[in-house]
Subunit: 265 residues, 2 copies
């Protein structure tokens, strides 16, 4: 997302405001590691009355997780990020004056989301300890579109099926029974989303995100309940831009922090 | 679909008009075997310029297949139906005066869609002989929602995964390379749709069908190209009813035969 409020704070870092200035986040100037629109859509997709512990897996600089708690006063977030530089930026962001009202509800954990078993536990990701998990995993590269399930976690950044499956396994472990996973992911990977949730989650609610009303969705927002047996539903989509490129009223309200997604679902 | 134009023609049968009276179809009065809205949405989802041979698998009384050729003058249809009574009604419909302009482009084949190999061939379903296949398979019962892949074809009417898979296998066989499958199916079975198309079809275009703008989609219209490697896309949804229960302009135009779905996709 182009952010006109971005200002350089030091070399290679910008200080970006989100939710109509409610929060401020330090991000690398490098485009590849910047969050924006997707992160805010994700943050707006948790239930409005969410409370307790939230984990933001692969939080990057923390835009999504910090936005989520800014929107829900009863939620605390653990930002889980493997890249030390990104985790450090997230920690710095939590101490910015603009975010002072949120600081006590933010923790940062430098850890690999794809760890398993006792290693995951030792890293600080405890089983059945979160009511909510959110994630925006890196998207699979279109050219490689691999789906083999034997890819190693070293390949997780490539996000073949093995990658998404490893993220989903951790989300399942750390969620309480009945806890909710909220994720945003590439729409062309719907098969991977279905496969990786199978036997772990149910009650999937899928919301296509259309860049314009007449364009295919590139992203899917998905909510899923740990242990549920309820069927998949497709909820009405969200459209981001009007024909002239401006934000639709719904998208503008969500990006300003004045509205949520998944109303009534 | 409630059809005010329906009139009893003989005991247990009605004569129903579709596409604003362009076609007339004999249907059993028995609700369980009647077609309507879904069939017309399916018929409107084939590309506008479709030509050549179309197979309507599990055609029932032929509403979808006959509507499809009424909308596309260069298309011929083979209505494939295993139930002798339904196949007979389809044959009778093709001889109705109202459909006289279409009669030479309609054939009926009484055959089991789930046949395989030489049995399928002997029944008259020839490999690589159709440019288009359409189907509206019976939906899986919510209570049983089974997905095991070893279900026998005797269970096909239950439409667990084995059932849909068998229909998809026949569709794949009889389509020419690059031919298009167009189907309408229960949205909660998205996982089955993805699994049953895998390795057979690509370029899936999925259109959720919402009963109202703020209600979840119950059905998905899906187009898929035999042998394609292109990724899945979610195209903008279609909404059937306004808040007051009347048809939306788009739905009304489609049901009248004045508009198609999947415009520009």
């Amino acid at each position: 997302m182009t952010n006109p409020a971005a200002t350089k704070t030091k070399q290679n870092t910008t200080r970006d405001r989100f939710l109509n200035g409610k929060i401020e986040i330090l991000q690398p100037s490098d485009e590849g590691h910047r969050s924006g629109l997707d992160a805010i859509l994700l943050a707006a997709s948790l239930p409005a009355d969410s409370a307790g512990n939230l984990a933001d897996l692969g939080s990057g600089s923390g835009v999504a997780g910090i936005a989520a708690i800014a929107l829900r006063p009863k939620l605390r977030v653990l930002l889980v990020e493997n890249n030390p530089l990104m985790a450090d930026l997230a920690s710095q962001s939590s101490t910015l004056a603009k975010n002072s009202a949120l600081a006590t509800r933010i923790k940062v954990l430098e850890a690999d989301v794809t760890l398993t078993g006792s290693k995951r536990q030792k890293a600080g990701l405890l089983a059945s300890s979160f009511g909510n998990v959110m994630m925006n995993p890196p998207y699979l590269d279109a050219a490689t579109n691999r789906t083999s399930s034997d890819k190693t976690k070293a390949d997780a950044h490539m996000m073949g099926f093995g990658g998404l499956d490893a993220w989903m396994r951790t989300a399942t472990c750390i969620l309480k029974p009945g806890g909710m996973l909220t994720m945003i992911y590439w729409s062309q990977s719907i098969g991977q989303i279905i496969a990786a949730t199978q036997g772990r989650f149910g009650g999937l609610q899928i919301m296509p995100v259309h860049p314009k009303a007449d364009k295919p969705a590139k992203l899917l927002l998905t909510r899923a309940v740990k242990g549920s047996r309820a069927p998949v539903t497709f909820v009405p989509p969200v459209v981001i831009h009007n024909e002239d490129g401006s934000f639709t009223p719904k998208a503008a309200a969500v990006l300003s922090g004045d509205d949520f997604l998944f109303h009534g679902f």
